[in-house]
């Protein structure tokens, strides 16, 4: 097995960033897990 934690996380080139997402907000919870709010303008 190999350890890749020291490598950069992202160097791929997949798709263009996604458009049309009004607002994306990431928080880190107390236990270290991330949570992302996606809010849209079309309500």
């Amino acid at each position: 097995m190999i350890n890749k934690n020291s490598e950069p996380d992202t160097d791929k080139n997949l798709e263009e960033p996604i458009k049309n997402i009004a607002k994306k907000k990431e928080i880190i919870k107390e236990d270290g897990r991330y949570l992302i709010y996606y809010d849209f303008d079309d309500k």
Binding site: E15, R33, Y37
Partner: protein
């Protein structure tokens, strides 16, 4: 404990995630972890008091992004070993709405379109990570499928390897493309349109049918008619059309036996390992477990031991049933 163990006999990896034994099991609505937090005395997974769509790391994951060991690219399946690789990867929960009772099929089409945009964003963001080779977006719905929370939600597993079923699909697609210079899936779509007997409905951008080779009585596939490898390639008008198609299909399922149909919904897309998969065609697959109003299809001896599915029905007859339910 999270582990990946290799089965050298079946040539497959098996994931162990022992913490999942303790996951929340059908809590009362007032203790639903996917509802917004309305009171500090009863915090849920989601601190905000309202939200559109939320994605968060699964509290009971099968893979962890913090594991410091992963399978090397040249993981050798040809020799016998008892290594216990840690399960580096990411497991996310997608809460579709803050409304505990608003199922996907009851949502306004624009909200389903927004959910599809979230799926696009997750495929893109997770797929960018070096240790992620495959992003599987899926929804398990209903207790018959094994769901433990009733709040409308789906999941995303970002795998550190290409799992075996997508791998088989990719290999078949590549082989056909190499030999015929044509997409296997485009050819299937063409044939389904010619024969029409298995199509449930169709619009300008998507075709919804029970495949000729369906394993399950009401197994339905949704394909974009345009040759696309992943969900991120959808244009706005296709996203809206897909939202409408998902809503219509699930509502037809619900009308079939006059109850909300349980199902596993999965999206098969290009892997994210930076290789060329131009020959692949992304699609949705739906697996409802019912074969009649009160009988479930179980995987038993022949399916488990031989790998041959026995479908108790004919796809043409089941497609005709769903076609009538407009």
């Amino acid at each position: 404990m999270l582990e990946l163990r290799y089965d050298p006999i079946k040539n497959q990896l098996v994931a162990s995630a022992t913490k999942r034994q303790d996951r929340t099991f059908f809590p009362p609505k007032k203790f639903c972890p996917l509802c917004p937090t309305k009171s500090n005395d009863n915090p849920t997974e989601i601190p905000a008091n309202n939200y559109d769509i939320v994605v968060f790391e699964n509290k009971f994951p099968t893979f962890s992004k913090d594991a410091n060991k992963i399978l090397p690219d040249n993981f050798n399946k040809d020799y016998f070993h008892y290594d216990k690789s840690q399960s580096k990867g990411i497991c996310e929960v997608v809460s579709y709405t803050s409304d505990h009772n608003l199922y996907l099929e009851d949502m306004p089409e624009n909200h389903i379109s927004n959910l599809i945009k979230v799926w696009q964003d997750r495929y893109n963001e997770l797929g960018q990570k070096n240790f992620i080779k495959y992003v599987l977006i899926f929804e398990n719905k209903g207790k018959e499928i094994g769901v433990t929370l009733s709040h409308p939600h789906g999941q995303i597993y970002a795998f550190p390897y290409i799992p075996p079923i997508p791998e088989v699909e990719l290999n078949s697609s590549k082989k056909y493309f190499t030999k015929n210079n044509k997409c296997l899936h485009c050819e299937i779509i063409k044939r389904e349109i010619e024969e029409r007997s298995r199509i449930i409905f169709q619009n300008d951008y998507f075709i919804i049918f029970i495949p000729f080779y369906a394993k399950w009585p009401y197994e339905v596939h949704i394909y974009p008619i345009r040759h696309l490898g992943n969900i991120c390639q959808l244009e706005e008008y296709e996203i809206n059309s897909l939202a409408k198609s998902l809503k219509e299909l699930i509502n037809r399922y619900n009308k079939l036996f006059n109850f909300r149909m349980s199902y596993a919904m999965i999206i098969h897309q290009n892997p994210t390992d930076n290789k060329n998969y131009d020959y692949y065609h992304f699609h949705f697959e739906f697996y409802p477990p019912y074969r009649t109003e009160n009988k479930l299809k179980y995987l038993a001896g022949c399916e488990l031991a031989a790998g041959t599915f026995i479908n108790d029905t004919l796809p043409e007859k089941k497609a005709a049933e769903l076609r009538k339910l407009k």
